[in-house]
Symmetry: C2
Subunit: 593 residues, 2 copies
């Protein structure tokens, strides 16, 4: 016999969980006690929103499911933004929440609340989880854990949720009597026409002059990075990456063309728009990637899309010649097999792609000429030049997200990621906590803005307490830069709620870090930037570095909508990025049209 709460922890230990993020609370009190007594290490965040976000980042670094433990009521609702992020970006994550005694739950009574700090969290998280259940029968705890974890990790991964009433947490159970979950292996998704469809892909590849592969997180989820690299290298296939896969290859790889998208790289966008065969593997092709003019996306190519989620294949913003519902690894393996020994003549196309990559860097040479303040793209460029292959880098949102993914030069082995789909401001700092823990408490870099930083800065306490060697860079642009620039562009310059003049103030970042006993420095000019950044990243302790940038610095290049005289909005195809190239130059870059 053992207490159910203890069983939960030993079950998690058994599947290899070594760390859990939590905020303790009354509704989860037995679970917290069990966690405290287990071999699993726990990290106390200072808000449950941070628990969920740290957990997400942990899963991304580990490449495995992560676990959050929170209490009833607000403990659960506080996590929702983080859980929604896992849902949209396909991250396997288990939240275990405490709940009031089963007899005090509202059930179907129609009451708004019965137990103290109660809410029916399952109803609320159902739309954003693959499995969400309240444990009512203690003998089903194993079943629910097994099923939840199976679903979180299988097919298209995502978050799952198990809610455990306090009286159930403390019940004694007999492990041998527990019901078990048996997965229905026939439910594993396999495209039965895979062989035939891949044959067609091979035919298209053979006749293609300008093939381009676009890979996304599916490569990571299916752990097929090596297979993929073998595929492209054996057959000289140029490729680009989606936002959740920007770190799968060194940026200077000879076949890598870069990162397409609305806030992408010009060269990569040209490659997509000029390809005659476009093969997307494991990327959902979000609008931020395809642009709002999605019908114009890869418009000169035959399109093959491989995704594990049929709804993604069927969505209206994408039209494909061949749709393959498959795990990325299964598809890549089959394609490798069928292509085996075959050589494709792509050398002039590779040259063209590399030419674009060189000709249109995200970081312009003029950026380094300014002395003061700091250009954020130049900063990212210098920072990436001095980071090591073992570093993990996460970002917050706005320019810290888009700018970093545009400018950062990845070294092989580095991890760089952001929650790209939900993109919640404030995600960066708690994500750095989770990433650092997953990274064995080794150096972890976080790039944030001053606006987003405020949204979860309480996690400085988590960093301080655990002495996590996080290097937090805060791009100070006096407010919400992306909002401000959207307002300047689309509202005749009418600003609202984006800077000090329009309702927002921010604290002194150095003094704030100091309140947490975290060292902090401010950099405001580029003169000695590399040297100064080196000192910061070499510091063994946590450190906060404020980067003073021009609050009017443009976020470029980007795909920008424009307005017709009648007010209707014109959506641009992704090759036509702002600042606009001379039309002659744009035309020259378009091989087909």
């Amino acid at each position: 016999m053992s207490r159910l709460a203890d069983y939960v922890m030993s079950f998690l230990e058994g599947i290899g969980v070594s760390d859990i993020f939590t905020v303790s609370g009354g509704g989860s009190i037995f679970l917290n006690d069990a966690l405290g007594q287990s071999k699993i290490k726990y990290y106390c965040c200072h808000h449950e929103q941070a628990v969920a976000m740290a957990s997400e980042a942990y899963a991304r670094v580990k490449g495995d499911i992560s676990v959050s433990l929170v209490t009833s009521g607000p403990g659960g609702t506080n996590t929702i933004t983080g859980v929604a992020g896992c849902w949209i970006d396909s991250v396997p994550n288990l939240t275990i929440s405490g709940q009031v005694y089963l007899g005090q739950t509202v059930g179907n009574s129609g009451l708004r609340q019965l137990g103290v700090q109660e809410i029916n969290i399952i109803d609320i998280v159902k739309p954003i989880t693959k499995y969400a259940v309240m444990v009512k029968n203690p003998n089903r705890i194993k079943y629910h854990l097994q099923k939840a974890i199976y679903l979180a990790k299988t097919g298209r991964p995502g978050p799952v949720w198990i809610d455990i009433p306090a009286d159930i947490q403390r019940m004694e159970i007999n492990e041998s009597e527990l019901e078990v979950f048996v997965s229905d292996e026939s439910s594993v998704i396999v495209d039965h026409n895979l062989n035939t469809k891949v044959k067609k892909v091979v035919e298209l590849l053979k006749s293609s002059q300008r093939p381009l592969i676009h890979v996304g997180q599916g490569i990571k989820i299916s752990k097929s990075e090596t297979d993929f690299m073998e595929l492209v290298e054996n057959h000289n296939l140029p490729f680009v990456t989606a936002r959740n896969a920007n770190d799968i290859v060194a940026s200077d790889h000879r076949l890598y063309v870069g990162r397409p998208g609305t806030y992408g790289q010009r060269g990569a966008n040209f490659a997509v728009q000029n390809s005659d065969l476009y093969l997307a593997i494991g990327t959902r092709l979000a609008l931020a990637q395809t642009g709002y003019a999605s019908h114009d996306y890869a418009r000169n190519a035959r399109k093959v899309i491989v995704d594990i989620d049929q709804t993604e294949l069927d969505k209206k913003t994408i039209s494909a010649d061949i749709k393959i519902q498959s795990d990325a690894k299964i598809f890549i393996t089959e394609l490798k097999n069928q292509l085996s020994g075959m050589s494709l003549n792509t050398s002039s196309w590779i040259k063209k792609c590399q030419d674009w990559k060189k000709r249109y860097p995200a970081v312009l040479s003029e950026y380094q000429k300014q002395k003061c303040p700091i250009n954020s793209y130049h900063f990212i460029d210098v920072l990436s030049s001095i980071l090591n292959a073992a570093d993990v880098i996460v970002t917050d949102m706005g320019i810290s997200f888009q700018g970093t993914h545009q400018a950062f030069q990845i070294k092989r082995g580095q991890k760089l990621f952001t929650n790209s789909g939900f993109a919640a401001m404030g995600w960066g700092l708690p994500a750095a906590v989770g990433a650092c823990v997953a990274n064995q408490c080794n150096r972890t870099v976080c790039i944030s803005g001053d606006g987003g930083f405020q949204m979860n800065m309480q996690e400085l306490a988590t960093i301080m307490h655990n002495q996590l060697p996080i290097k937090l860079f805060i791009l100070n642009n006096n407010g919400y830069l992306t909002i401000k620039q959207t307002q300047e562009h689309g509202f005749d310059g009418r600003l609202m709620g984006c800077n000090q003049e329009t309702g927002l103030s921010f604290p002194d970042i150095l003094r704030l870090a100091n309140a947490y006993d975290i060292r902090a420095v401010r950099l405001d000019n580029q003169e000695n930037l590399k040297h100064e950044l080196k000192q910061i990243i070499d510091c063994e302790k946590p450190i906060v570095c404020e980067i003073i940038m021009d609050p009017d610095q443009q976020q470029i290049p980007k795909v920008l909508n424009s307005k017709n005289p009648d007010g209707t909005i014109v959506t641009k195809p992704i090759e036509d990025m702002y600042p606009y190239l001379p039309s002659e130059e744009l035309k020259e870059n378009m091989i087909s049209n």
Copy 2:
């Protein structure tokens, strides 16, 4: 013709909305622009959780619906804890969220996301709102606004939600063509047997020796404070208050017996348990009020319960002799009419009640004898002695909630409140922001703990920016006091995630406030406490005051569960509070049993 976003703001102006809380964002960009151009003042919070909580407190102070404006995706999910608080505590609140273009919403496609930073927020908030709708047809905007506001304010109030896609926000509409909402007045709740039922109540009152009225927020919602006071004063009826109504009467009122509950006042609990007629009006009788031994609650009384929500009347934790589904004002008016001219002989019972009230104060005289550090009950006692009738006081959770409501001596006209049902840590500071704005930016007091403070401290920036004269007192007890004491009591002293030794650190509060350019002081002894507190509350600017208390100070009195030797839990009736009275004394206080 006008832009829909502008119409929304002029509609809100038209119904008297003068302030809106917001965080600007891309998905709500037209609404933000319209708000910026309207006559409505806007307050930029620094996290949407704070927007919702500020909004709730604003509604409570104003006694009217409040409005939040947030962006798509995380902008909406960040508010959920605050909205759930409004749901459970019956606060009328409208959230307007921006959304991606209608054509980019996932709808029923099964996709996890289509538009940028999209989520189907309506699905998520439906379980915690009275009305939640996405506006798809611009000509229905008036209908949705009217219906949402009607529902938020009618019957049992609560939150409502309107989600507006960005392309709908910017559409031109013709106001004269807009569909309108006509409320079905027949849906207004009236108990058709009200007259007969009140007759029975009158009969019970006439034969009662020890009648007690328990009033809750229903009194405030129906704006029947004056009627209620006339009722009790005309007929010498002693009464107690529920947590959301502790401020409806001066604490020293001759008929007022206090605040019953698990963290209540002993005297009030004795009054409830000894009453022979118990009449609850507009309080949902939460378990925190009745105790977990709810069958023992008011066990010597005939019970009459008046509530506007039939599901509350029918809930299993309450048994009543007479249940009346009615608005509090309608019921009180009818009862006043039927009692008119009748005199009830309650003088000895009033004397008994006042005797309890005097004999068992929450603030014990021994508390003032200690020199250092500060006893939190003594602090509340001194603070309440020097605050004015015009002050608004809000609290965070844990001891700042329970201890304040136990110890605070209300002056007539003061407002003191906390979100008592959902009781989310971190609620206090943003609530103070909302309360202060509703209080015409006059002095507002917030009492928080060091744990809860961390959860929304970014709102110091909102205070600083708007120079809101908030006096923020932070009870520093080195962590999560309530959790720690629960663990000490129930887990043989095994602690986890509640203080520095078990995983939690906190920043230096003074330096933190200083980072926001807010003055801060630390008080750590009682010697000159009144004088020092007076200086703090007389300071015209915002100020943070850290109160150093003993991290082992008990939260007493309270109703505590105990364990049988076999491990089963014994729930105590509310008269038997910890620290336990000698059994003789307990017996003496129980007139019946």
